[in-house]
Every structure is written in structure tokens, then in C-alpha cells.
């Protein structure tokens, strides 16, 4: 189905879903790019360079879907203030250390990919056509993140504790923002655009069971919607740090803009 074939309510919800996925990819790319240098090895830094570029490539394809809704993607990408971003709140600030990067890959990127899988399998044609390529690229992120998670889990206790703390801090936000259990998510699932939030969360719990057990963590409880949930932005209140949004918008390169 194309965007015009959905009801106005579904169309609005679909537009918010796309913006949330695109903004999260945009921010995730920035957070990876902070580690091009300073990772535990040069090779790992190179991997974050590739992953950050992938995320921005995916964000560009997702923003371009907004044209179906009469929205100018260039305007959306380059003009919004931080308070209008719909990215997952766990990306508002940079990853504190490499354990944060690894948690970001496995937990945030992994949850985002799961949300995209459901979207690609749904009724919206543009998602069915574009997302499989993104998921093929994401397979490398998953392998890289899981390899690092195994390495840290089997290593020194200090590293394991750092990673466990990073996972614990990101997981509730990632699940809440990327697989929200609100009325709008149910509306999209009912229209066949995505899978039901409860089913997606159950899949995520199965995928994360092994790494969470390796970190000797308790399985995470299903997070409820926070009191400050903003359905219009598919996230709690707050916003990404200003410097990240300046980079996302390309503020310093306005005079050299080529799109």
C-alpha cells in the first residue's frame, strides 16, 4: 500500500514512526562517529566509521519516505531544533566509553533493527522496498557488537560490570522508544504496518537472553510508558544534546550545501 491508501489516523502515525526511526539512526550514527578514533583498537574504530556511515545512509532513505506525506525531507533533516527530534532518548548524550558503544550496538541498534524488520514485513510499500537493504547492512553491526559483547563478558570483571551498567541504562529507553506499547503502536499494528508491540518485545527478549545471561544480568522487565511520554515525538520529554543536532543538521556547512 502507498501512503495515500491508509486512513488519515494511520497516515499520521506512520509519518511519526518514520521520523522516529530516521532520527534515531541519525543520532546513532553521530554517537558511533565519536569513536572513529579512541576505540580499543584501530580496527574497531574503522568499524565504527563504517557503521556511522551506514546509519546515515539508512537515515537518508527513511527521511526520503516523508515525501510520500507531502513533507520536504531536506527541511526535516536540516532545519529542526533539538526539541523536535524524535530520536530514542538513550542517544541524547554521547556514549561514555567503549562499553557504551558496545551496548549501543547490541541494544539500541539491535532494537532499532527489530523495529525495522517489523516495518519491512508490513503493508507499507516504501518500507518493504527500502528496508531489506538496510537490514542486510545491519547484519555486520550485529556480528560486530555480539563479538565485542562476548569478549567483554568473558574478560575482566571490571569490563563486565561496565558493560552490564551500560546495557541496564540503555535497554528500557531503547525498548520504550523503538517498540512503544502505546495506542498509536497498536493502531499501526492493526493496520498491518508493523507487528504488535508485545510480539516485537517478546522477540527482542529472546534475542537478548543469551548476551544478558553472559553478563550475569537479570532479564529486563517490560518497561511501562513513562509519565512524561510524548506520543507526538514517540519518546519522553527531553532532547538530544545541541552539538549533536548541529552536526546532524550540518549547521557549519550551510554555505556549502549541495543537496
Amino acid at each position: 500500500m502507498n501512503a495515500r491508501e491508509f486512513t488519515p489516523e494511520v497516515r499520521e502515525a506512520l509519518q511519526r514512526l518514520i521520523l522516529s526511526l530516521a532520527d534515531t539512526k541519525r543520532l546513532l550514527g553521530i554517537r558511533y562517529s565519536d569513536w572513529l578514533l579512541g576505540a580499543p583498537s584501530i580496527e574497531s574504530g574503522i568499524a565504527t566509521a563504517s557503521m556511522s556511515q551506514d546509519e546515515w545512509g539508512h537515515a537518508r532513505l527513511l527521511y526520503a519516505m516523508l515525501k510520500d506525506f507531502g513533507v520536504d525531507p531536506v527541511e526535516v533533516e536540516h532545519s529542526r531544533p533539538p526539541a523536535e527530534y524524535c530520536s530514542a532518548s538513550c542517544l541524547d548524550e554521547p556514549f561514555a566509553d567503549w562499553a557504551g558503544v558496545v551496548a549501543g550496538i547490541v541494544v539500541v541498534d539491535g532494537t532499532l533493527s527489530l523495529a525495522l524488520e517489523g516495518f519491512a514485513a508490513g503493508a507499507y510499500d516504501a518500507a518493504r522496498r527500502r528496508i531489506p537493504k538496510m537490514l542486510a547492512e545491519e547484519a555486520f553491526h550485529r556480528d560486530f557488537g555480539q563479538a565485542w559483547m562476548r569478549r567483554i563478558s568473558e574478560g575482566a570483571e571490571e569490563g563486565r560490570q561496565l558493560l552490564a551498567a551500560a546495557v541496564e541504562s540503555m535497554l528500557p529507553d531503547a525498548v520504550t522508544c523503538l517498540l512503544p506499547g502505546d495506542d498509536e503502536a497498536e493502531l499501526l499494528a492493526g493496520a498491518g504496518v508493523t507487528v504488535r508491540p508485545a510480539d516485537a518485545r517478546a522477540t527482542l527478549a529472546r534475542r537478548l537472553a543469551e548476551p544478558i545471561a553472559a553478563l550475569r544480568m537479570e532479564p529486563a522487565a517490560d518497561p511501562p510508558l513513562p509519565a512524561d511520554w510524548m506520543a507526538s515525538r514517540r519518546r519522553p520529554t527531553g532532547e538530544p544534546a545541541g552539538d549533536a543536532v548541529e552536526r546532524a543538521r550540518g549547521d557549519r556547512n550551510r554555505a556549502l550545501f549541495v543537496e
Partner: protein, 134 residues
């Protein structure tokens, strides 16, 4: 001086974007089979980073000729391919070099996703010659 014993060639076939220095002269007029002529022309457009054509890489998903207007369905090896604009410009320039083509429309497509399985046997030979296995 001893020759370098690495797998890379000491030179590549073209140093110009899209292989422009190797492009054929434009046809004098409209060919009998315009679609085949478009495919031949696209077969001369090289990837900006490797000496292999966009057709042999499997990036062209379809061609349609409507009068003097050509539609090209084009994909890329990666969603963040740094050469997207170069490739589109090279494709457009090569086709517009033909006097019987007045307009080129390029549609970016991602379905089915590109994989290395789309590289032709000739493309694989060209890549091997450049020290890249595929």
C-alpha cells in the same frame, strides 16, 4: 627496479570519473534498438573507485526508452555509498552525450537489495584484475 610483488595493478585503465576518457563516440543518429544502445552506453560507465562498469557490477535494474527520454533504474552497493552522486552524474552525462537522447531520469531503487551475486562474470574478472576478489 624489481617489480612489486603485490596483487594490485601498477595502473588502472582509466583515471577519469566514470571512465570518460574511454567512452565511445556518440552514435550519429537514433539507433534501431534504442534500449540496447542505452545498455551498451551504460556498459562504458565505470565505477568511480574500481575499473568495472556499472552494468557489470549489476547496479542497473532497468532501462526504458520513451522517445528522446530515457529512464534508468539504478541501485548502489551500499546505502551510504560515497559515490552515489558521481555515478548518477556519469550515467547522465554518458547518455546525454548521445544526440538522440534529450532527457535522462534516474530512479534510485533498493529492491531487491544489491549483493555481490549481481556482479557479472566479466565484472568478476575485472575486479580480480584490480586485486579485488568477488
Amino acid at each position: 627496479m624489481a617489480e612489486l610483488s603485490v596483487g594490485l595493478p601498477l595502473h588502472v585503465a582509466s583515471h577519469m570519473s566514470g571512465g570518460r576518457d574511454l567512452w565511445s563516440e556518440p552514435l550519429p543518429g537514433r539507433p534501431d534498438d534504442p534500449e540496447a544502445a542505452v545498455w551498451r552506453a551504460l556498459g562504458e560507465v565505470l565505477d568511480p573507485e574500481l575499473p568495472v562498469s556499472v552494468t557489470d557490477l549489476g547496479l542497473i535494474y532497468g532501462v526504458r526508452v520513451d522517445g528522446e527520454r530515457v529512464e534508468v533504474r539504478l541501485t548502489f552497493t551500499a546505502t551510504a555509498c560515497p559515490c552515489m552522486e558521481f555515478i548518477e552524474e556519469d550515467v547522465r552525462d554518458r547518455l546525454l552525450a548521445e544526440p538522440w537522447i534529450a532527457a535522462v531520469e534516474i530512479e534510485q531503487v533498493w529492491d531487491p537489495p544489491w549483493t555481490s551475486a549481481r556482479i557479472s562474470p566479466a565484472g568478476r574478472r575485472a575486479l580480480r584484475g584490480a586485486g579485488v576478489s568477488a
